[in-house]
């Protein structure tokens, strides 16, 4: 089976992002569980904000972290795409999200319908910048946001799947 970029296969590139080249490492860990593309933790695992460690060498370069759900409220009818779960700016290179400015605090994923994707996207900022807090979480647009604040293309991204706690796991045959 041909292996493509997981972000493309999972349609994160397409639904949320434009194609980009990964240049910075991005590590997301919930407790002891590291998130890889396409893994499927339960909501109870991801209820609290994860530890996010970013690469880069220069602590004078600042990065913006965005976490969105493009499948809200359901993947077959994502009227609320994208639902903003977390927004942190001014993260110094080679540090973590806790060193940045939390513009929008972490909201626990609570998918009720279907299997949702939850994507972390990292952007490099031109400099320190003041970012206005969005008025609401639903219908956030990562591309537009990047355009407004001159963030350019992403430098890293990772996503996972999540369904409701009692979910049966989706299709059995494919």
């Amino acid at each position: 089976m041909r292996r493509g970029d997981p972000l493309v296969v999972g349609r994160v590139i397409g639904d949320v992002l434009d194609p980009f080249t990964k240049s910075i490492s991005l590590k997301v860990t919930y407790g002891s569980r590291e998130i890889n593309n396409g893994c499927e933790p339960k909501p109870s695992v991801v209820v609290n904000q994860p530890r996010v460690e970013i690469g880069g060498t220069d602590m004078r370069t600042f990065y913006t972290l965005i976490m969105v759900d493009p499948d809200a409220p359901s993947p077959s009818a994502p009227n609320l795409r994208e639902y903003l779960h977390w927004l942190v700016t001014d993260i110094p290179g080679s540090t973590g999200a806790t060193f940045g400015q939390e513009i929008m605090c972490y909201e626990s994923p609570r998918p009720t319908l279907g299997i949702h994707r939850f994507a972390f996207v990292l952007f490099q900022q031109l400099g320190r910048q003041t970012v206005d807090r969005p008025g609401w979480r639903q219908n956030f647009n990562t591309k537009d946001f990047a355009g407004i604040y001159n963030l350019g293309l992403p430098v890293a991204a990772v996503y996972y799947n999540c369904q409701r706690e009692s979910g049966t796991g989706g299709r059995t045959r494919c």
Partner: protein, 219 residues
């Protein structure tokens, strides 16, 4: 016209006619056979005679019927002869509690008339038998689209209300047949198409997830 009717009734009422008149005609014919070529035949009762017989017998049944007293010897309808009776306008008001829905038949008219005003005389008057009254009055009968409308209003039965709103079932007499409007058929087609598209999207997402899992496996 009446002569043929008279013959019909004559056959039915022959038993009711007084035996004396028959024997009279017989003796008459036998005694004076030379009078006419037709004298051998029994004398035919006319409609008038039958009508009078009916009136008289009903008078025995309903002696207190004041309404018709001013009409001489006509206790039932107040009409002098059967032509008058049959010529009267068709209207429900003349009868009590009967719905003249489909009957254009003289027989039914007669039986309706007699049924409403008096208990049936023992004479064979019932051109229609009793069960037919049940048939005509039964509002639930499927062959009566009119009464089905009444049922709709009174019963508040949703199973009837939707397919038959405003018109009788075009397929006629089967209350459970559904005739879908073309609009509905188009909608179901659209719905199916949408459902199919959604299904395919779901399948594609599922395949993508599966591929992710496989690609993350160690080679």
């Amino acid at each position: 016209m009446w002569s043929s009717g008279g013959e019909e009734i004559n056959n039915i009422y022959n038993s009711s006619s007084s035996q004396s008149s028959n024997t009279k005609t017989n003796t008459n014919s036998s005694s004076s056979s030379s009078h006419s070529p037709f004298s051998n035949l029994p004398r035919r009762r006319t409609m008038e005679e039958v009508w009078n017989d009916i009136n008289l017998s009903s008078m025995h049944q309903n002696p207190t019927n004041e309404h018709y007293h001013h009409h001489q010897n006509n206790p039932i309808i107040g009409m002098n002869n059967i032509q008058e009776f049959l010529a009267r306008p068709f209207s429900k008001d003349q009868q009590t509690g009967h719905v003249n829905v489909i009957s254009s038949n003289n027989k039914e008219v007669l039986s309706n008339a007699f049924g409403s005003n008096a208990p049936k005389p023992p004479i064979v008057l019932c051109l229609n038998s009793e069960p037919d009254f049940q048939y005509l009055e039964n509002n639930d009968h499927p062959l009566r689209p009119q009464s089905r409308f009444d049922n709709n209003h009174s019963n508040d039965d949703t199973s009837f209300a939707s397919p038959f709103d405003g018109f009788a079932s075009p397929s006629g007499f089967y209350p459970f047949s559904k005739r879908r409007a073309p609009e509905d058929e188009d909608n179901t087609g659209d719905r199916r198409l949408k459902r199919m598209i959604k299904n395919r999207d779901s399948a594609a997402r599922s395949r993508a997830r599966k591929q992710e899992i496989i690609s993350s496996l160690p080679l």
